[in-house]
């Protein structure tokens, strides 16, 4: 059996967005002849439309490949695709735990980026063998020498003989495959020990139920095995095991230590197969689960409402369906006076939030209104009670608050040195605490800041990009809670609080934020029959005020020659317009105005 393991190579690819991970994966698939040329769709591993459009991988996928190496032997490759974004850090770490090596793809002109570095460090932490590859060497701006030095300096691994490839044209890809064979160690494990299989991904299939992607560490699993999820305790009987072909699942007799494959067991929800959990045999259980299991914790919350209130059940169904595939998405019903019935959704981060919203709109054809994203605040009341607040609506009466804390992150920003000033200005403005600056080479630096998560959930990434002409890259990790001066800001239209527009903000930011919000509302609310006062208030105290003047003229002066059609059409238009209005208390606010205020900045 150990012979089988000898020729297995389990690896992942680490790369920054656009540095060519998916293209490289495609070329590897081609060269291993796993996919016939005609079946090749560009970027095969990225299954979802959004992934393809954004060029990012949202969820890990894996594929089994056979490669005939120059030494004449057949090697079984398991390529495990990892999400590239920090929101999915934990999923990345589980994917890495399933591998013995990682191919690090670096763009020959752009060099190492913040995300790449973060994931490479993660890989090094997991004792993975790193195989550096310089991609896009055929571009005119390519500077492989500089990038090699960068890899050696920053990551500290030898890179001078790294394969220089062009995934796009297929140049030198075979060299990468040979490196995988020679440099990445074969998996270890004991197929006779009690079963330990790591779940690194899962998805819901309407016919098979949940399909769990696993790396077997020890033992063997086959159809009929009774298995237990060690973290959740759920037990199932295995229906099928097998390997992942690039386009379909290939059933097999068993999966043994060292192998990567899938398990189905008529499992109804992905919540029973949480990423990071350990599968063991009920009859011969392992004593300890694999290390590193962690429950996914949402960091960013937002209210999600259907534009058309009648679509509420559809939204619920859609969220339930998405949750089948994405255990990290949480939601519970909430009601807003302004927006009606909707859901408070929890996301791993901003990108995760955007992706879920986009999928809801695209795959389920829903028109959504989402409230401003909020982080989770820790509030200690004067009676000693501690509250976690993810919704401004639940913010307690300030008189009852003893202290407040907000989550902070450690942000690392990589940028050409010429933008240091701009970046520091931005971070300072976002209440950042400067940590340090490291020179990666003569003109590239890595800046570290500690920032309130609250300050980056709105538009930090966009602001960063615009201040650095798109050159800076950004990554962050949560470092815990810190005391903060927080206030809840309410927006009042015609004297009534619009709950969906309330938000929690640092006291120093309240005034400018309030003014901006009031101005934006004034700009976007059309004149109505009555004057509309707009106020922003903290508690009972108004800190900003604007007025939408009453409409003075809206009349068809000449209704003449018996042309009623024109008047009727106008009325029809007004009726349609009214449908797109949100009734906020006594004030009608067009859908667009509402959205534009939520997308402040």
């Amino acid at each position: 059996m150990s012979d089988i393991r000898k020729n297995i190579r389990n690896f992942c690819i680490i790369a920054h967005i656009d540095h060519g991970k998916s293209t490289l994966a495609d070329r590897i698939l081609e060269l291993t002849s796993t996919v016939a040329q005609r079946d090749m769709e560009d970027q095969l591993l990225d299954n979802m439309d959004i992934e393809r459009e954004r060029g990012i991988t949202i969820k890990a996928r894996a594929v089994n490949l056979d490669y005939k190496a120059k030494d004449g032997e057949i090697y079984h490759f398991n390529l495990i695709d990892t999400p590239g974004h920090v929101d999915f850090n934990y999923e990345v770490s589980r994917s890495l735990a399933a591998c013995e090596g990682a191919v690090l793809v670096v763009d020959a002109s752009q060099g190492i980026e913040a995300q790449t570095l973060a994931n490479t460090y993660l890989a090094v932490e997991h004792d993975l063998e790193i195989v550096p590859v310089i991609n896009k060497v055929d571009l005119p701006s390519a500077d492989p020498e500089r990038v090699c030095h960068e890899i050696e300096d920053i990551i500290g691994i030898p890179a001078l003989d790294a394969p220089r490839v062009s995934a796009k044209s297929g140049l030198n890809i075979e060299e990468v495959l040979e490196r995988i064979v020679s440099d990445i160690p074969a998996p270890k494990g004991d197929e006779n020990a009690p079963l330990k299989a790591l779940i690194f991904d899962s998805y819901y299939d309407s016919y098979k139920g949940v399909v769990a992607y696993v790396r077997v560490m020890d033992g063997t699993v086959k159809a009929g095995s009774k298995i237990r999820m060690m973290a959740t305790g759920a037990e199932f009987t295995v229906v099928e095991v097998g390997f992942m072909g690039p386009t379909n699942l290939i059933p097999a007799a068993s999966l043994a230590a060292g192998q990567v494959g899938y398990i189905t067991a008529s499992i109804k929800t992905v919540r029973d197969t949480t990423v990071g959990d350990t599968i063991t045999d009920v009859d011969n259980p392992a004593a300890e689960p694999l290390a590193g299991y962690r429950k996914a914790t949402p960091m960013v919350f937002s209210g999600v409402y259907p534009v058309d209130g009648a679509k509420y059940p559809d939204l619920r169904d859609a969220l339930e369906k998405l949750q089948l595939n994405d255990a990290s998405l949480s939601f519970e019903p909430e009601t807003s006076i302004a927006l009606g019935f909707g859901f408070r959704c929890g996301f791993l981060g901003l990108l995760h939030m955007e992706i879920i919203q986009e999928r809801l709109e695209r795959e389920f054809n829903l028109d959504l209104i989402t409230t401003a994203p909020s982080v989770v605040y820790k509030i200690t009341l004067t009676n000693g009670e501690e509250l976690m607040i993810d919704n401004p609506t639940n913010y307690p009466d300030p008189a009852l608050i003893d202290s407040a804390e907000e989550p902070f992150v450690k942000a690392s920003i990589m940028t050409p040195a010429s933008f240091i000033g701009n970046i520091m200005e931005l971070c300072q403005d976002r209440r950042g605490v400067y940590v340090d600056t490291k020179y990666l080479d003569a003109d590239r630096v890595e800046i570290h800041y500690e920032l309130p998560l609250n300050e980056i959930v709105y538009d930090f990434f966009d602001a960063l990009k615009s201040r650095t002409k798109g050159y800076a890259s950004f990554d962050y990790e949560l470092i815990g809670y810190r005391p903060s001066k927080l206030v809840k800001l309410d927006i009042l239209l015609n004297g009534d609080i619009v709950d969906a527009l309330s938000f929690i903000v640092h006291a120093d930011k309240a005034y400018p934020r309030a003014r901006k919000m009031a101005e934006k509302l004034k700009e976007n609310i059309p004149r109505q029959m009555f004057e509309v006062p707009i106020q922003a208030a903290i508690g009972g105290k108004v800190i900003a005020r604007e007025t939408v003047k009453a409409m003075r003229k809206d009349v068809l002066a000449k209704c003449y020659g018996g042309d009623i059609t024109r008047k009727k059409k106008l009325l029809e238009k007004q009726k349609e317009g009214k449908k797109r209005m949100r009734q906020l208390g006594t004030v009608e606010v067009p859908q667009d105005a509402f959205m534009s205020v939520l997308k402040l900045d």
Binding site: R527, Q528, M529, F530, K549, M551, R552, K553, D554, V555, L556, A557, K558, C559, Y560, G561, G562, D563, I564, T565, K567, K568, L570, L571, Q574, K575, K578
Partner: protein, 381 residues
């Protein structure tokens, strides 16, 4: 075919689609005739077509009684008195026109008109509606009008001399650079001529007109100023003896209200003949395409759905100062719940001075007229 007695008499609108040249603000359907050699032929064929369509309508009508006729346009006098006679003769031949019928013709106040006035009278026309627009020559020039204020006065006096006892003058508000003084001057002008009726329209720059192309909107008074000017002229007209009875219409006496136009706002039936003319006939709304050739070729009016429902009645009646009685809505099929909703929605508007709610009646004030589109939409939806 026996005509039912209780069917009210019809109004007839004749749209005459010819002008010497197009005014830069006007988007009514008409053809500029200046420099065209085929005008006469088109006018002949147009007149024949009007006669043909009158007959077609009569065949389908439940009544042959008529109590208003209105020649609009366009510029009806361009047809010449002979063809006007031909059309009115045909109307008298086919329909039973009531003795006290109101028969109106629109005209531009040129001196050239004077010679034909007695001929129009003999055709039965007893009301003239002049497109004065303004008594200020600078405003007339801006509007591309071919007359001066002085000329217009001469023309009105000639009409009065020829025996016309019911004369209406059109004015326009919200013109570029317009001031209260200029409006007052126009109002005084009309009042001094002792005309019976005045229409005062707020200029609307319509898409496709030269005003639109040249972005005249940019030099027009803004929304707030337009409202001021409108309220000013309503007040000035009142002070000069002209009572408002519709958003843009004023009369020196109830009997001088434009009976034909009131039919539109009262949801009464009327026949409209000529390209772009609208009809409300046998419960259906319909209109001819905006195309003279199609009209001449005999293209029938395009159906525009059922008319006369309570929502439509409300939308139209609220243009009148008299407003509407809820009883009328009930008779047209409104449920009590509809009426209750309307009253509930109307209450804050009454408080704000946009309308009056009394004795089971609802009517808009001048402030309410100014935002009547919004009010009607709010009451209905």
């Amino acid at each position: 075919m026996e005509k039912l007695k209780d069917i009210p008499p019809l109004g007839i609108y004749i749209h005459v689609p010819f002008c010497v040249s197009k005014c830069p603000y006007c988007d009514f359907y008409s053809i500029g005739c200046a420099g065209r050699s085929d005008t006469r032929e088109y006018m002949d064929r147009y007149t024949d077509s009007v006669k043909r369509e009158l007959k077609t309508f009569l065949e389908k009508s439940r009544t042959n009684r008529v109590d208003t006729v209105y020649f609009g346009g366009g510029t009806p006098v361009l047809l010449t008195d002979k063809k006007i006679h031909a059309i009115t003769d045909e109307i008298y031949r086919l329909f039973s026109v009531e003795n006290n019928a109101e028969i109106t013709m629109e005209a531009n106040p040129h001196t050239a008109l004077s010679q034909q006035l007695s001929s129009y009278r003999s055709a039965g026309i007893n009301r003239l509606s002049f497109g004065l627009q303004s008594a200020n020559d600078d405003e007339l020039k801006l509007l591309g009008r071919l007359h001066s204020a002085h000329e217009a006065a001469q023309c009105v006096k000639a009409a009065q001399k020829a025996g016309f006892e019911n004369i209406s003058l059109d004015l326009m508000t919200a013109l570029p650079y317009q001031t209260e003084e200029k409006l007052l001057n126009s109002v005084k002008f009309c009042s001094e001529l002792n005309v019976q009726h005045i229409s005062a329209y707020i200029l609307k720059v319509e898409e496709g007109t030269p005003f639109y192309v040249n972005d005249v909107q940019a030099i027009c008074p803004d929304e707030d100023r337009q409202a001021q000017l409108y309220l000013y002229i309503v007040q000035a007209l009142k002070e000069h003896g002209y009572e408002q009875y519709e958003i843009s219409n004023f009369a020196s006496n109830k009997k001088y209200r434009a009976r034909h136009n009131v039919k539109y706002w009262n949801c009464d039936e009327y026949i409209g003949i000529g390209p772009s003319a609208h009809s409300f006939f046998n419960g259906r709304r319909m209109y001819y395409p905006r195309d003279l050739k199609l009209f001449i070729d005999g293209t029938s009016p395009t159906d525009d759905g059922e008319g006369g429902g309570w929502e439509e009645y409300l939308m139209l009646r609220l243009r009148l100062s008299d407003g509407l009685d809820f009883d009328a809505l009930r008779q047209l099929g409104a449920e009590q719940s509809d009426i209750d909703r309307i009253i509930k929605k109307a209450q804050p508007m009454q408080k704000a001075g946009f309308l009056k709610l009394e004795n089971d009646n609802i009517s808009l004030t001048p402030e309410g007229f100014l935002i009547s589109n919004s009010i009607i939409a709010e009451l209905l939806f």
